[in-house]
């Protein structure tokens, strides 16, 4: 060992202290030029989180006065942004104080702003919103506060920067605070999520109130930015929440062991607890909580563990293990807020993939209720969402999933949407409510959508659009066609065109089929013809069917419905 026992003793003490430190994740965002990079650079520099060689590599560069370090250069990483002088993507920074470790999600304030802010906020416990004191509350600060509230970031610290430029004027600071508090109230009314806000006047350039309290603003009696960050409630405390455990993987090293591996989304689990597996609804008791370091008597969010149950239950990846007393909802129709993140705008009635907990499910966006203008907080009718738009939508997943509203549970209320062609992540979603209309109802039902049911919603539920299909042929073939449509889940209504009622009232057939079509049903108008000829017609397209081979004929009918656009293309649905 070393010859300096004193320093070894102190390092042991240091390690013991380190072991006790927790972790706070916060996001930052601001407008171009409001000094966000400078603020973070200053925070890192003043907490001794940058090395000398990194400081040396930026000395004499940048845009600050001679002799002054341009702190922004410590954090502006990529060449492209160095060239443009602006940050373009979320960057993660790390620093620690004697009290806790911090992860900063540093998000740019201009290009793709909403997309990046939402990304940063999704994992954040707190958000630091920057306001340029010389300019007041600008759109980007409003946007950041809105997104923090939408993504349920618990605490917001509003750093009013560049106080040095306004002579450290107290009245200006107070006016900005008043302004912003009013805005936060409006935002909370819109999103339903109030945030706790603290305000601190700072100068990132001069270092005022960043780490140490500033002499320049004796009128400010509050904490420095760092002190505020150190005192916020510590991250992830969902131990009292209902138990949620998305199964990532089934571990079967041999026939003696079958364990379900996952990360606890919320709550606490102990051996002996009764759990329910969703969406199947099977119940079992937890026998063991297995880890590499030995079995546990108790485990809670967000630990990654492996559960062994007391009986054989059919469980696979994507299932959600929940406490039997407080299960999650199981639903196919979902209402959600969406942040659109892709160049290609949202397409209603198109199929996307929805990744939620540990499963990926095909989904159709059935209705767009409104878009929220983050600047004015007004809700506007919209046909689509473009990159950085925020909207409220209805979705239908092709098989039921177990979920909670995002407001109650981040782990089981969040999802992303993936474009099936480009594989891009196109949207972030937060579930606001879900229907339980699917015959698998567990938990209490919530209202399924609102207002008049739209064509898109019907199409999404049934997997096809409304239509009128006329088929003529031998009775056996007509039966086969109806049966084949029924077996793939088409909601159809068989109408015999030779019925006396239609002969008496010729316009009746047209009226009935129109109503069915408008209701999203497939009106199947059949005429028996035993002469050996057969045909099918829809939306002006007609095909001659093989009357001798009903398998072939039904395939021809399905093909016709596809080409007429009545069947919605899918990867997994049988249509």
């Amino acid at each position: 060992m070393s010859a300096t026992p004193v320093s070894v003793f102190s390092i042991q003490e240091f390690l013991a202290e380190e072991r006790e430190k927790d972790l706070l994740r916060f996001s930052t965002a601001g407008s171009v030029d409001d000094g966000k990079s400078t603020l973070i650079g200053r925070l890192l520099y003043d907490t001794q989180s940058v090395y000398e060689d990194q400081v040396k590599s930026i000395q004499g560069k940048g845009t600050t006065a001679p002799g002054q370090i341009d702190f922004a250069l410590l954090t502006d990483g990529l060449r492209a942004e160095r060239e443009q002088g602006i940050t373009i993507d979320v960057a993660y920074r790390y620093f620690s104080t004697s009290r806790r470790k911090f992860i900063i999600a540093d998000t740019p304030g201009h290009e793709q702003y909403t997309r990046n802010m939402a990304t940063g906020a999704s994992t954040a416990d707190a958000a630091v919103v920057l306001i340029d004191a010389s300019k007041g509350v600008l759109i980007q600060s409003r946007r950041h506060a809105y997104i923090a509230s939408l993504l349920r970031v618990r605490s917001v610290i509003v750093a009013v920067n560049k106080m040095d430029l306004i002579g450290y004027n107290e009245a200006t600071f107070q006016a900005i605070e008043l302004d912003f508090r009013r805005l936060l109230e409006q935002i909370a009314a819109d999103t339903g999520n109030p945030v706790e806000a603290s305000f601190v006047p700072v100068s990132a350039l001069a270092g005022d109130n960043i780490v140490h309290r500033s002499q320049a603003m004796p009128w400010y009696k509050g904490h420095s930015l760092l002190e505020l960050l150190e005192s916020l409630p510590s991250s992830v405390n969902t131990r009292q929440a209902p138990f949620r455990f998305p199964v990532q993987r089934v571990l079967r090293p041999n026939h003696m062991f079958r364990g379900f591996a996952g990360q606890i989304g919320s709550g606490t689990v102990r051996p002996g607890d009764t759990i329910t597996v969703l969406p199947s609804g099977s119940t079992a008791e937890v026998q063991r909580i297995v880890t590499f370091d030995g079995d546990l008597e108790e485990a809670y969010a967000p630990l990654s563990v492996t559960l062994v149950l007391d009986r054989e239950v059919d469980i696979s990846r994507g299932d959600l293990i929940v406490s039997a007393q407080t299960p999650a909802k199981v639903a196919k129709s979902i209402q959600a807020s969406l942040v659109w993140m892709d160049q290609r705008p949202l397409l209603l009635n198109r199929r996307y993939l929805l990744k939620h907990t540990s499963q990926t499910v095909p989904v159709v966006l059935s209705a767009l209720h409104y878009r929220t203008d983050v600047g004015t907080l007004s809700r506007e009718p919209a046909q689509t969402l473009h990159m950085n738009d925020i909207g409220t939508v209805s979705l239908t997943v092709l098989r039921p999933i177990a979920l909670d509203p995002y407001g109650e549970n981040r782990a089981t209320g969040a999802f992303i949407l993936i474009d099936t062609d480009t594989n891009s992540t196109v949207a972030a979603g937060m579930i606001t409510s879900a229907g339980t209309d699917d015959g698998v109802g567990v938990g209490s039902g919530l209202v399924d959508g609102w207002g008049r049911v739209t064509a898109g919603e019907r199409d999404a539920r049934w997997g096809h659009r409304g239509g009128v299909l006329e088929v003529t042929g031998p009775l056996e073939l007509l039966d086969a066609v109806e049966r084949s449509l029924f077996s793939v889940g088409v909601v159809s209504c068989r109408i015999d065109a030779d019925d006396d009622a239609f002969i008496l009232h010729p316009s009746l057939l047209e009226i009935i089929t129109r109503i069915q079509f408008q209701s999203g049903l497939l009106a199947l108008v059949v005429r028996v013809d035993e002469s050996g000829a057969a045909m099918a017609r829809t939306e002006g397209e007609q095909v001659t069917l093989d009357a001798t081979d009903s398998n072939k004929a039904t395939a021809q009918v399905h093909q016709l419905l596809h080409s007429a656009g009545i069947f919605i293309p899918s990867e997994k649905a049988g249509l």
């Binding site: 060992m1 070393s2 070894v8 390092i11 240091f14 390690l15 380190e18 072991r19 006790e20 430190k21 927790d22 090395y51 000398e52 060689d53 954090t75 502006d76 990483g77 990529l78 060449r79 492209a80 160095r82 993507d89 979320v90 993660y92 790390y94 620690s96 470790k101 992860i103 540093d106 990046n116 994992t123 510590s234 991250s235 992830v236 405390n237 990532q248 993987r249 571990l251 090293p253 364990g259 591996a261 990360q263 297995v290 880890t291 590499f292 370091d293 008597e297 108790e298 485990a299 630990l303 990654s304 993140m341 939620h356 981040r410 782990a411 992303i416 993936i418 594989n423 992540t425 972030a428």
Partner: protein, 316 residues
Amino acid sequence: MPVAPSGTSSPPSPANGSSRLSHLRLLEAESIHILREVASEFERPVMLYSIGKDSSVMLRLAQKAFYPAPIPFPLMHIDTGFKFNEMLEFRDRTARSVGAELLVWRNEAAIAAGTNPIKLDTKRCCALLKTGALLDGLRHYNFDAAFGGARRDEEKSRAKERIYSFRDSVGQWDPKNQRPELWNLYNARVHPGESIRVFPLSNWTEMDVWQYIHEEKIPVVDLYFAKERPMYVRGEALLPVEQDFMALPGEKPQLVKCRLRSLGCTPCTGAIRSDAETIPEIIAELLSFRSSERANRVIDHDQEGSMEIKKREGYF
């Protein structure tokens, strides 16, 4: 590698009254979640094992993620032919004790042609022996996901790296066109030929890695610990004796008490003077350091933004 539970390594139990999880437990839980997601969503994942401290931590996390089942993917080491012998011995011993399949991939043609950083420059040498070999190896085995031990705190261009880092069909990285990554919902969709690099240690810092090694008693290569070693001393730089072509005329190695702070190729990795013989002493030394961990790597400095350029080309 010890498998038995050790006193300090078990997750906190409520018995000790701890009301919150330490940062290391939070980081561990996050990394294990990532390892399990990738193993479950990709057809052919591989863990790039570089023998260093970060790889050692990543390997331990993989053991934890799938316990009591074995690690469900192979390890692959990209051997440039310039690795310290101690590293290669450690690599083989570790793979055996963990029970993992070990693949070693070398750019044999370039090695046979005598590629070295003196003959070429460090940039072109890396391109052939590291990046080239890596892309070849991934292609050869048709891997669609590769774990790497890189951390975001290592270097500025890594700060914007995703946990799932998408690579096109020629293995390149486009920093302007990264998929947004929200919550812990990772997008694993790739077209045939495309792949993902995955960084389970993204949110760990150098200090976290050493503390974890300490708490978990994870074995690491002896070169990290200070002892008397023969070195060529050039100003501040200490160059290991492994490669004799580096010697200047008349230059003689001296015995210097030193250690390596990060493990790279012999010609490009300098040692630092140090008395740190134990992990607590290394951590104490880290606290007093005034330069970042990669400062002794020649490769990061040969061009402004050099790491970013390498990453675009496919380097880890």
